[in-house]
C-alpha cells in the first residue's frame, strides 16, 4: 500500500481500450463459431471463449491482477465450489439408472417413444424434434 495515488493501481487507458477491443472481437468470434457446425465441439468452444472473456474482465476491468491476493483466492474459491456443485450433481443426473433398480428414462418419455413406434407415420417428425431424450 505504498505506491501512487493513495496506494491504488491506476489501470492505463490504453490497456482498458485494448481489453474492450478484445472482448468485442471475442464476442464476434463466438457468434461466428456457433454458425459453423463443429458437432460435439460447439459447446466446449463457446464455453472456452466465454471463460477467456471472463478472465479478461476479472483481471483487468476488476483489477484483480493488481489487487490483494486474498481477493483472487476468494474468486478461485467461488469457481471451485460452482464446479463442485455442477460436477457432483452430474454424477447423479448423467448416470441416473446405472443400476437396474431405477429406470434411466422417465415414464412420460417411454410412453412417447412407444406411441412414436406405434404410429410410424408420425415417427419421422417426432424423432427429428425430440430424438431419444433422456440419454
Amino acid at each position: 500500500m505504498d505506491h501512487a495515488s493513495h496506494g491504488h493501481h491506476i489501470t492505463p487507458k490504453s490497456l482498458l481500450i485494448k481489453v474492450f477491443g478484445s472482448l468485442i472481437l471475442l464476442t464476434i468470434l463466438t457468434v461466428a463459431v456457433s454458425r459453423v457446425h463443429l458437432g460435439a465441439l460447439n459447446v466446449p468452444v463457446a464455453i472456452a471463449i466465454a471463460v477467456v472473456k471472463m478472465m479478461l474482465v476479472v483481471t483487468v476491468f476488476m483489477a484483480v491482477k493488481w489487487d490483494n491476493k486474498v481477493n483472487a483466492l476468494v474468486i478461485g474459491l467461488s469457481a471451485l465450489f460452482v464446479s463442485i456443485f455442477l460436477i457432483f450433481t452430474l454424477f447423479d443426473t448423467a448416470y441416473r439408472g446405472d443400476l437396474s433398480n431405477v429406470d434411466r428414462v422417465p415414464i412420460s418419455d417411454q410412453q412417447r417413444q412407444q406411441s412414436a413406434e406405434m404410429a410410424p407415420a408420425d415417427a419421422g417428425a417426432a424423432a427429428s424434434e425430440m430424438p431419444a431424450s433422456g440419454h
Binding site: L77, D92, R96
Partner: protein, 561 residues
C-alpha cells in the same frame, strides 16, 4: 513471549459506564451498532424461537405417547413437526451460536472495537426479523406440513402458506450470508497487533470456517427456494415430475445447502468446546493447529457429501458411492478434534464448573452422534436406517447433544462477561445433569426404534413401538425441566447474581484479560497488544503476577516428558 502487557487500568475499577447502561433508551437498543447489543437482540429473539419450537417438540412427543390419537389430529401433528423442524433449523440453530456468541465474543477475542461493518450487522438482525415475521405469516396462513425439507412435488402442491415459508427461508438466508461476510472480513482485517493466525482462539477459527460455509452454501438455498416459489406460482417444471421436471434434482439443490448447513450449525459449537476445554483444564488445547485446520477441512469436505441423504432416492449408484466414500473422510478431522479435546485434560487442572459439565456431556453425546453418522454413511446399512428414527436420533445427538449443549455451556461461560453477574453454580450443575439424563432417555431410545424400523414423521404407529415411544416422551419431560432450570438460573442470576470480576475463570483470551465485565461500549480502553497464544496460562500467570510461584516452568515439563 516473556514481556508484558500493561494491564489496562479499567479492569478492576468500578466505573459504572458499560455497554449495558451507557444509554438506556429503547431507541439506543433497537438502532444500536454495537456488536454486543446486537448479540443481545439476537439472544432474546432466538431464545423465543427456541422456546416456541421446543414446546412444539414437547407436543409432538406427547402425541406419540400412545399409538393412535393422543392429543391432536394428524393434520395438526404434521404441521407441528414441520414447524418444529423449520423453526429449529432456519431460525434457531443456524443463527444461534454465530449470531449470539460470534457477535458478542469474536470481535473482543480479536481485540477489535466492533465488527468490520456494524451497520450491516444491524441490518442482518432486521433481515432475520423479517424472515421471522414471514414465518409467523406462513403459520397463520396455515397448512405447512412439508417437513423442513420442502421436498417436491409435495411442497409444490400445497397452499399459499408455502410461498410465505419459502420466502422466509430465502430472507433468513440473507441474514446468514451477511453475518458470514461480515465475520470473514472482521477476522481478516480487524485483528489486534500481535494476534497472528496461530494465536487466534479456536472459537474464532471455528467462526471463520462457519462463515465461509455460510457465504458459499446459503445462496444456493436462496435460489432453490426461489425456484420452488416459481414452481408453485408459474409451474416452471424444473422440479415437478408432472410437468417433466425432476424431484431428485430438487434434493440435490436442497442438500447442497442443507448438508453444509449442518456444519454451519456444529462448527461454532466445536469452537466453544475447544475454548471451554482449554480454560477449564487450564491447559494448552492439544494439537492446536490440527484442531484449527480440521475446522477448515470439515467446512470444505462438508460440501462434497450432500448425496448421502439420497442413497434411496433413486440417484445413480456412482454418485451414491462417491458421496459415501467422501462422507467417511469427514469422520477423520472430526475424530482429530474429539481426541485432542480429551487429550487437553491430560496433565491439566480440570475444574468441574457448569460450562465444563456441558463440555464433558458434549464429548459424550457428540461421540455417539458422530459414530452413528458413520453408520448412516455405510451404503448397505443406510438403506435400512434411512428415514427411520435412527436418523432422527442421530441428528438430535449431533444438533442438540452437540450444538445446543455447547451453546448452553458457552452461554454459562460468557454469562459473567455479558451481564457482569455470576450465576448460581449449584443450580447450573443440576440443570446440566438433568439435561444430560433427559436427553439420553429421549433420544437413545430412538436409535432402538429406528433399527427396529419405526419410520420418521409418523403420526400413528404399530403397537410394538409403543413402549419405546413412551420412554422417549418421558425423557423429553426430564429434558424440558432441565432446560427450564437453565432459564431460571439465568433469570435468578440477573436478579440476585453476585458481581462478576473481569476474569472469573482465569482465561487467557482478550475478552477476559483486557476488558471489564460487562465491557465498556468500545470494548477496550486501549488497543490490546497480543504477545502470547490464546491458551498460554503461564504467560497469563506471569502477566497478572498472581500464581507465578505455583507455575511450573515449561522447560521443566518438557524434560519430564
Amino acid at each position: 513471549m516473556s514481556e508484558t502487557v500493561a494491564v489496562p487500568a479499567s479492569i478492576d475499577t468500578s466505573v459504572p459506564k458499560n455497554y449495558l447502561n451507557h444509554d438506556k433508551s429503547i431507541k439506543s437498543w433497537l438502532l444500536t451498532l454495537d456488536h454486543k447489543r446486537i448479540a443481545l437482540l439476537y439472544l432474546v429473539t432466538i431464545s423465543i424461537v427456541f422456546l416456541v419450537a421446543g414446546v412444539l417438540a414437547l407436543l409432538v412427543r406427547a402425541e406419540l405417547f400412545t399409538a393412535g390419537e393422543t392429543l391432536m389430529k394428524p393434520d395438526t401433528y404434521n404441521q407441528f413437526f414441520s414447524l418444529h423442524g423449520i423453526l429449529m433449523v432456519f431460525l434457531f440453530i443456524v443463527p444461534s451460536v454465530p449470531a449470539i456468541m460470534g457477535n458478542f465474543v469474536m470481535p473482543m477475542q480479536l481485540g477489535a472495537i466492533d465488527v468490520a461493518f456494524p451497520r450491516l450487522n444491524l441490518a442482518s438482525y432486521y433481515i432475520y426479523l423479517i424472515g421471522g415475521v414471514l414465518v409467523v405469516t406462513a403459520i397463520l396462513a396455515g397448512n405447512i406440513d412439508t417437513g423442513w425439507t420442502f421436498y417436491t412435488p409435495y411442497s409444490a402442491r400445497l397452499g399459499s402458506s408455502v410461498i410465505f415459508m419459502t420466502l422466509a427461508v430465502f430472507i433468513a438466508g440473507f441474514s446468514s450470508i451477511l453475518t458470514g461476510l461480515n465475520f470473514i472480513v472482521t477476522i481478516h482485517k480487524m485483528r489486534a497487533p500481535g494476534l497472528t493466525w496461530n494465536r487466534l482462539p479456536l472459537f474464532v477459527w471455528s467462526i471463520y470456517a462457519t462463515s465461509i460455509v455460510q457465504v458459499l452454501a446459503t445462496p444456493v438455498i436462496g435460489i432453490t427456494m426461489l425456484l420452488l416459489l416459481l414452481e408453485k406460482t408459474l409451474q416452471i417444471g424444473i422440479f415437478d415430475p408432472a410437468l417433466g421436471g425432476d424431484p431428485i434434482l430438487f434434493q440435490h439443490f436442497f442438500w447442497f445447502y442443507s448438508h453444509p448447513a449442518v456444519y454451519i450449525m456444529i462448527l461454532p459449537a466445536f469452537g466453544i468446546i475447544s475454548d471451554l476445554m482449554g480454560v477449564f483444564s487450564r491447559h494448552e488445547v492439544q494439537g492446536y493447529k490440527f484442531v484449527a485446520l480440521s475446522s477448515v477441512a470439515i467446512a470444505f469436505l462438508g460440501f462434497l457429501v450432500w448425496g448421502h441423504h439420497m442413497f434411496v432416492s433413486g440417484q445413480s449408484a456412482i454418485s451414491s458411492i462417491v458421496f459415501s466414500l467422501i462422507t467417511y473422510l469427514i469422520g477423520i478431522p472430526t475424530g482429530v478434534k474429539v481426541l485432542n479435546w480429551v487429550g487437553t485434560m491430560y496433565r491439566g487442572s480440570v475444574s468441574f464448573k457448569t460450562p465444563m459439565l456441558y463440555a464433558l456431556s458434549f464429548l459424550f453425546l457428540f461421540t455417539i452422534g458422530g459414530l452413528t453418522g458413520v453408520a448412516l454413511g455405510v451404503l448397505g446399512l443406510d438403506i435400512h436406517l434411512h428415514d427411520t428414527y435412527f436418523v432422527v436420533a442421530h441428528f438430535h445427538y449431533v444438533m442438540m447433544g452437540g450444538t445446543v449443549i455447547a451453546a448452553i455451556g458457552g452461554l454459562h461461560y460468557w454469562w459473567p462477561k455479558i451481564t457482569g453477574k455470576m450465576y448460581n453454580e449449584t443450580m447450573g450443575s443440576i440443570a446440566a445433569v438433568l439435561i444430560f439424563i433427559g436427553f439420553n432417555v429421549t433420544f437413545f431410545t430412538q436409535f432402538v426404534l429406528g433399527t427396529k424400523g419405526m419410520p420418521r414423521r409418523y403420526y400413528d404407529y404399530q403397537i410394538q413401538y409403543e413402549a419405546l415411544h413412551q420412554i422417549s416422551t418421558v425423557g423429553s419431560w426430564i429434558l424440558a425441566s432441565g432446560l427450564f432450570l437453565v432459564l431460571f438460573t439465568f433469570i435468578h442470576s440477573l436478579m440476585k447474581g453476585k458481581k462478576a470480576g473481569s476474569n472469573p475463570w482465569g482465561a487467557a483470551t482478550l475478552e477476559w484479560t483486557h476488558t471489564a465485565s460487562p465491557p465498556s461500549p468500545h470494548n477496550f480502553d486501549e488497543q490490546p497488544i497480543v504477545t502470547h497464544g490464546p491458551y498460554d496460562y503461564h504467560a497469563l500467570a506471569r502477566v497478572s503476577g498472581d500464581g507465578a510461584a505455583q507455575t511450573s516452568e515449561p522447560e521443566l515439563s518438557e524434560s519430564r516428558h
